[in-house]
Amino acid sequence: MTDSAHMVLMVATVLFGLGLIGVLTRKNVVFMLISVEIMLNAAGLAFVAAGSKWQQPDGQVMFLFILAMAAAEVSVGLALVLQIYHQHKTMDVEDLKELRD
């Protein structure tokens, strides 16, 4: 049981890493958001794995919360992305450099 939990954790870690790489490499805001979503889901997966390891529902409860929160985040995020596109006609974060020293 614990072994499989660890396996899942491993998968989650890989997923998390992939998301991180995505955030780092992508310049498009939408893709970055998606990558962050992946990372959040990876965390959720890890929770589920942990919950299963300890035979508790807590992990899955947490996953639900994560989902809800991710949804909220994405909605706000997309709204902002729209605004950006509206104002800057671009989705490239590298163009968002007006706030700086």
């Binding site: 955030v23 780092l24 310049k27 974060v93 590298e94 450099k97 706030l99 700086r100 020293d101």
Partner: protein, 627 residues
């Protein structure tokens, strides 16, 4: 009588206070009355005191008056308290009496000056400070007077402050004497550390028991005191300020830079004789310094053209005699020379002042000439002074005092043939330059018109001083002639007797040689400077470099300029903006630069920020793995 002491310095002090506070508003006659009057009163009190002292000597040989306790800290207890013993009496007599004469002279001499009150205020303050110096019963009070006279000297040299060179002269005088003063101060510290007191009587009583003769401490102490004296008395190598100090008005030169202040060093050494006796090395050094100074300054006097500078160098030279006398242990001879010197040198300066005044402030002796006829009284008095200066045998005060010094420089236990020879050479030179001075100024063709006759009030002090210049010596005759010892009997109540060599040649012999040498000097001067000859010597090209060397006072100024002044100025100039400040500015600059570097990270790029977060994680994880 004790209660009288305080009044002596108090009157000049009152004069100073009135003049300095209200001087500008008072009419000149009032100022003159106050300025000269207070000193005259002090002189009268002094004479009363002196008479009483001579008639009924006080118990313990000194009058005492405690005014108030100045400060008392720990073991150190200093009073403002006065003391007059035989030695002091001589000094206060000169200070007040000669001082009074010079003040009277000044009331006329300075009449046309705008700053009449300031002059008398400073002069009164000087008299007060000088009196405190000699009347002090402890060394701190002495130091107060010591610095006080320095201040007044500074003020009076720079009296005509609009001329920058006068200010420079004043500064120079103050600074060089300050070097000596500082040495004196350190000497005081050392004395206090060793003896735990600064009371003069206390020191003199304890010293023999505390110090072994010639031990390091006593040598050090006496050398420091000696340097102090050298600064004030313009002895080598601290002599360079005195010729420049002639920038002050002539009465100032007469009072401060001839009669009184410059002899403070002599007073100090004589006063602390108990210490110096414990340190034969220092005594020898004092003698050598005196001998060297008298020669060097005498030679310099030969080449001067400014009448006051000649007298200034002559003063240095004469004080050199006093130092020589002190050095060989001829205490009373030194004081006696001070006594006579005060009269004749003050006289010479005052007379020079009259001459200068009469000739439209002409200082150059070669622009004078022929004054014998036109200013006969001045001529006669000047002659008396010059005779005393060149120690014309039997008819001048200078002879009696200088002859004693010559005699002791050989015959005293500390004396030797070299000192005697140097003193003798000095006597020759003195006679030479005195003659030169007389001949160039009073004989020959008139070169500058005399514009006014000196006021009567200026002539009277001259006559009085001339009288004393001739007669002051009569109170002390050599052993082989009459053996009159009024003066030395008096001062030897305080000062020890001179220790003589065991085997002595005849004193007549020495006197004869001295007289001969003086005569030779006068004769040589006569041949060189009588008539047109003087100008020739003055212009002969072969001697130009020597003359220039002597004229500049043996290049001491240039030397000091090179060794001290230039490096000092250089040092201060390069460090004007404070190197250490650079360090702090560097820190500030560094921080600002750091700030600029850091703010590169704030370039607004979201991706960079993410990298930042990642770097943080990596850092934390690395730390975790490491530990």
């Amino acid at each position: 009588m004790n209660q009288l002491l305080a009044y002596i310095p108090a009157f000049p002090l009152i004069g100073f206070l009135i003049l300095s506070l209200f001087g500008r508003k008072l009419p000149k006659p009032v100022i003159a009355t106050i300025g000269a009057g207070t000193v005259c009163i002090a002189a009268i009190i002094t004479i009363v005191l002196g008479v009483s002292f001579l008639q009924t000597p006080p118990a313990g040989g000194a009058f005492h008056q405690l005014l108030w306790s100045w400060f008392k800290v720990g073991k150190l207890s200093i009073d403002i308290s006065l003391q007059v013993d035989a030695l002091t009496l001589v000094f206060i007599f000169i200070i007040t009496f000669v001082g009074a004469l010079i003040h009277i002279y000044s009331t006329f001499f300075m009449w046309h000056d705008g700053d009449y009150a300031r002059f008398f205020a400073s002069m009164n303050l000087f008299v007060c400070a000088m009196l405190l110096l000699v009347m002090a019963d402890n060394l701190v009070l002495l130091y107060l007077g010591w610095e006080g006279v320095g201040l007044c000297s500074y003020l009076l040299i720079g009296f005509w402050y609009e001329v920058p060179s006068n200010c420079r002269a004043a500064n120079k005088a103050f600074l060089i004497t300050r070097i000596g003063d500082t040495a004196l101060l350190i000497g005081l510290f050392l004395l206090f550390r060793e003896l735990g007191t600064l009371n003069i009587q206390g020191i003199l009583q304890q010293a023999p028991a505390h110090f072994t003769t010639g031990s390091a401490n006593i040598v050090l102490i006496t050398i420091l005191l000696m340097i102090g004296g050298m600064g004030k008395s313009a002895q080598m190598p601290l002599q360079t300020w005195l010729p420049d100090a002639m920038a002050g008005p002539s009465p100032v030169s007469a009072l401060i830079h001839a009669a009184t202040m410059v002899t403070a060093g002599v007073y100090l050494i004589a006063r602390m004789h108990g210490l110096f006796q414990l340190s034969p090395v220092t005594m020898t050094i004092v003698a050598i310094i005196g001998a060297c100074t008298l020669l060097v300054a005498g030679c310099s006097a030969l080449a001067q053209t400014d009448i006051k500078r000649i007298l200034a160098y002559s003063t240095i030279s004469q004080i050199g005699y006093m130092f020589l006398a002190l050095g060989v242990g001829a205490w009373s001879a030194a004081i006696f020379h001070f006594f006579t010197h005060a009269f004749f040198k003050a006289l010479l300066f005052l007379a020079a002042g009259v001459v200068i005044e009469a000739l439209h402030h002409e200082h150059n002796i070669f622009m004078m000439g022929g004054l014998r006829k036109r200013m006969p009284i001045v001529f006669v008095t000047f002659l008396a002074g010059a005779a005393a200066l060149s120690a014309l045998p039997l008819v001048s005060a200078g002879f009696f005092s200088k002859d004693a010094i010559l005699w002791y420089s050989w015959s005293a236990a500390n004396g030797n043939v070299f000192l005697w020879l140097m003193a003798l050479a000095g006597a020759f030179i003195t006679a030479l330059y005195s003659t030169r001075l007389m001949l160039v100024v009073f004989w020959g063709e008139p070169k500058t018109p005399v514009h006014e006759a000196p006021a009567q009030g200026m002539i009277i002090p001259l006559i009085v001083l001339a009288f004393f210049s001739v007669t002051a010596g009569f109170i002390e005759w050599p052993h082989n002639m009459m053996h009159l010892t009024l003066f030395s009997d008096h001062v030897q109540k305080v000062l020890p007797e001179t220790i003589m060599k065991a085997y002595l040649p005849s004193e007549w012999f020495f006197q004869a040689i001295a007289a001969l040498v003086t005569g030779a000097g006068i004769y040589l001067g006569y041949t060189m400077y009588y008539g047109k000859a003087g100008v020739r010597w003055q212009q002969s090209p072969g001697l130009a470099s020597t003359r220039e060397f002597l004229f500049s006072g043996w290049k001491f100024d240039q030397l000091y300029n090179f060794i001290f002044v230039k490096p000092f100025l250089f040092l201060t100039r390069i460090n004007k903006s404070d190197v250490i400040d650079r360090m702090y500015n560097g820190i500030a600059q560094g921080s600002l630069r750091l700030s600029n570097w850091f703010s590169v990270s704030q370039n607004g790029s979201l991706r960079l920020y993410i990298v930042g977060v990642l770097a943080g994680i990596l850092f934390i994880i690395t730390l975790q793995l490491l530990l």
